[in-house]
């Protein structure tokens, strides 16, 4: 696959190129792919592997010329995770990093706009982590709100 040729490592998975990368070299890999035809940045995802105690960030890129999809994967430790921001390369990465910061608690150095994006006034653990139980939260907070008690009607 063209992406594996350009970078020099990686494997093919169901027709997509999967390139594992270290934390510091991810910026150079993405810049090199951008200059060699991979001009469309698709999205930035995060997977929580709680058994192995790490987060995995996956950068997806697509090339219109070679018609290929590449996934660049970076593993971060689960306590105090932080990564470099890449929003100078593609402007929409700023929004993806903002959402991952809010939902997983990962810090991105160099991104000055890490303000709340989807939730307002949230002070619990970041909700997409695997140790946050959504059903229990909904039962504790919303089901415990009492009904409106009406008094006996005297007749209007």
């Amino acid at each position: 696959m063209k992406a594996i040729e350009i970078i020099g490592k990686g494997e093919e998975m169901h027709g997509r190129a999967y390139i594992p990368s270290g934390r510091e070299e991810a910026g150079t890999i993405i810049k090199k792919l951008k200059e060699n035809g991979f001009a469309h940045f698709v999205m930035l995802s995060c997977v929580d592997w709680i058994d192995k105690n790490e987060f995995e960030l996956v950068y997806h890129m697509w090339s219109y010329e070679h018609k290929e999809h590449a996934m660049i994967s970076v593993r971060l430790p689960r306590d105090n995770p932080s990564m470099f921001s890449m929003h100078e390369l593609f402007p929409q990465i700023e929004t993806y990093e903002r959402e991952i910061h809010e939902m997983y608690g990962i810090d991105f150095e160099g991104n000055s706009r890490l303000t709340p994006f989807l939730l307002e006034g949230w002070h619990d653990t970041p909700p997409m982590r695997k140790d946050f139980d959504s059903k229990k939260f909904a039962e504790d907070v919303f089901d415990s709100i009492p009904e409106i008690k009406e008094e006996e009607d005297e007749g209007i």
């Binding site: 006034g121 909700p127 919303f142 409106i148 008690k149 009406e150």
Partner: protein, 184 residues
Amino acid sequence: MGLSDGDIMRYEEWNKISRIASRKSLWMLHFCTGCGAVELPPVMTSRYDMERFGMGPMATPRQADVLLITGYLTVKTLKRVVNVYEQMQSPKYVISFGSCPINGGMYWDSYNTVKRLDRYLPVDVYVGGCMPRPEGVMNAFLELMKLIDEGKARGWEKYQKYYEQYKRNQKMAFGFERGKNEGD
């Protein structure tokens, strides 16, 4: 100067006339709160045509009569909906669409949606379904007009009477009582 029997009779007749005028010209507020709003354009346009009953859209809450809660409500939207409801003038009515405001619906275990609507706002008519069909929506409008005619649609009075209970429930949902919020 007390009220004679003749005066009370004219007061009752005046109420009846004002209710007839009210139910023939309900204006609904233009607010698409959730996914149930996709079945509202067929009702408003030429296929099912609610304008023959006198209902039309209105952009500002100060001049609207009916608030339609179309589907689920998140906590962020509930703050704005309460604001809008309190800006509307009495008499005002609330219709809720779908199964999400009744008991949570498809998102019963979500951390961001509000499960039962009648603990935060007084609801007059419920429509079931996911989505409710346009015939169901028209049925709800006609049911509301019938309740107004009989004098039974009194949601706004309930809100005024039990105001502290409604406010306490709203604050619990917004997180003020969990002690960590400084008032967003």
